[in-house]
Amino acid sequence: MIELEVSPLRAVDVPRPEAERPVVSTTARARLRAMFQEHFTFVWRVLRRLGVAVQAVDDAAQQVFFVATRRVDDIQAGSERAFLLSTAMRIASEARRAGALARELPHDELDARAHPAPSPEQLTERKHALEALDAVLDAMPFELRTVFVLFEIEGLSTHEIAALLGAPRGTVASRLRRAREEFEAAAARLRARAAFRGGAP
């Protein structure tokens, strides 16, 4: 099992916790702790929905906060979440290039990932829902996926997203529109296939 230790993402540049953790002041540490408590789950979830594989997401989330630790003095008060989010997007995109992410799946594979007819009572329902969602998201171009995740799942405003991406709000709005179209199309495909195979989606 040891040889599996190094995940692709880790190979990119996950900082070594002991070796590279910068010395930060007590104030900075308190601030980092607050950031961590407030945003770790958020960062983790965004990374996950942006396609970081489940086995790499813990490392990736840590990495985001390592970056924050190194740059804590540069982060303006009030823009902590924006900093973390843009770092997360960069790391997700790097990891994607490094191949640690789910690839964009052909439709057949997307179909294969659809679980047929989990009963509503099943405890695994949520897991299946997430797998289906990720299959749909994987089929989207990254920039559409980002906007979709931030708006529909994380509940950011288009204004916030525009600021984060450094793009005009109109661009964000049109990406969101396209993302929704892609989402619906992929979802319909997924469901149609699931139905064809005799189960509800």
């Binding site: 953790r21 949520r126 799942i153």
Partner: protein
């Protein structure tokens, strides 16, 4: 420019609603959070209030560490008075055994890898090697399947048996006694009979107990036993149910159900399972699913006739109406 309406706020088909709500409820396991906190050096500092040498200091530390930790403080406090050793050892067992599944990636099992993929935190580093020698037991199985042995020393051997993986070797130049993450010196734990083994890991654990209020439940801690159930797991359970509770309070029973499913999936046989069942009955009842609610309430009353919630259930679904 008007803000578009979110899919979840408008008229959305059930499937889309389901997947998006699942995504909103998704999150790292409690263990992932703890590991990250420790790896980032953010966890240990929260125990800086300590210094006492009694085993009960665990309870005290947790109690003062965070407002959010009140529930944990209660539990840990109780444990400290009564079964301090047990708690300590359980914690020892939790962490090092979880270390054994650290090699991430390529195993496909979602639940297992979700917790396993973290960077090995230095949390377990302070486990003294002496403990390892105490018990020549073979390595414990991965955390998810760890049985219930509460004997002192189960965990240290498992850790000792863990070959120095790259991560551990490179990331933790921590000598077993150095424990640089601990803000306090290792408290001498004469009260605990398994003293050297149990006390330092307990300290390391303590910070994590202060974080779960913002943490989702611990996927990987799904072992249904009661004895291994640590304060942090209870906290995670509480926070998991909070989602359902707040949904019910907000008259949004449909949102409570996925949260309860998530709870059931993560904590089969959890300490708060009865409350989860009651919440589900309430949600179903509020949704008008009388039959389901009735069926569950029958099952609940049969299983827990004397549960404090039983009256609430009877009031909600009068047994007389049972077909």
């Amino acid at each position: 420019m008007t803000e578009p309406r979110r899919l979840l706020e408008g008229e959305t088909d059930e499937w889309t609603r389901g997947v998006l709500e699942s995504a909103r409820a998704d999150g790292p396991s409690g263990r992932s959070c703890r590991k990250a906190a420790v790896a980032l050096g953010l966890g240990a500092a929260t125990v800086s209030a300590a210094g006492s040498t009694s085993a009960t200091v665990v309870g005290a530390k947790v109690a003062t560490a965070s407002v959010g930790a009140l529930v944990v403080a209660k539990w840990v406090g109780v444990a400290a008075v009564g079964i301090a050793t047990t708690v300590a050892v359980v914690q020892v067992a939790r962490h090092p055994t979880s270390e054994r599944v650290v090699p991430p990636a390529t195993t496909g099992h979602v639940a297992a890898t979700a917790a396993a993929a973290t960077t090995p935190p230095p949390a377990a580093a302070p486990v003294p090697p002496t403990a390892a020698a105490a018990e020549p037991e073979p390595p414990a199985p991965p955390a998810m399947t760890v049985p219930e042995p509460l004997r002192a020393g189960i965990a240290p051997p498992s850790r000792a048996a863990l070959p120095p993986t790259k991560g551990l070797a490179a990331d933790s130049p921590v000598s077993p006694n150095a424990a640089p993450l601990r803000a306090t010196p290792p408290s001498a734990p004469p009260v605990v009979d398994s003293a050297p083994a149990a006390a330092p890991p307990t300290e390391v654990f303590a910070p994590s107990a202060t974080t779960p209020y913002f943490l989702p439940p611990d996927n990987s801690a799904a072992a249904p036993s009661t004895a291994r159930r640590s304060a942090s797991t209870l906290f995670a359970e509480t926070s998991a149910l909070d989602v359902a509770r707040s949904a019910l309070r907000a008259h949004d029973p449909a949102r409570a159900l996925p949260a309860l499913d998530a709870y059931d999936a993560r904590f089969p046989g959890g300490a708060l399972a009865p409350e989860a069942a009651v919440l589900r009955i309430e949600a179903l009842s509020a949704l008008g699913s009388r039959d389901d609610a009735r069926r569950l309430s029958n099952a609940f009353l049969q299983a827990h006739p004397n549960n404090p919630f039983a009256d609430r259930v009877r009031k909600l679904i009068p047994p007389a109406s049972i077909p």
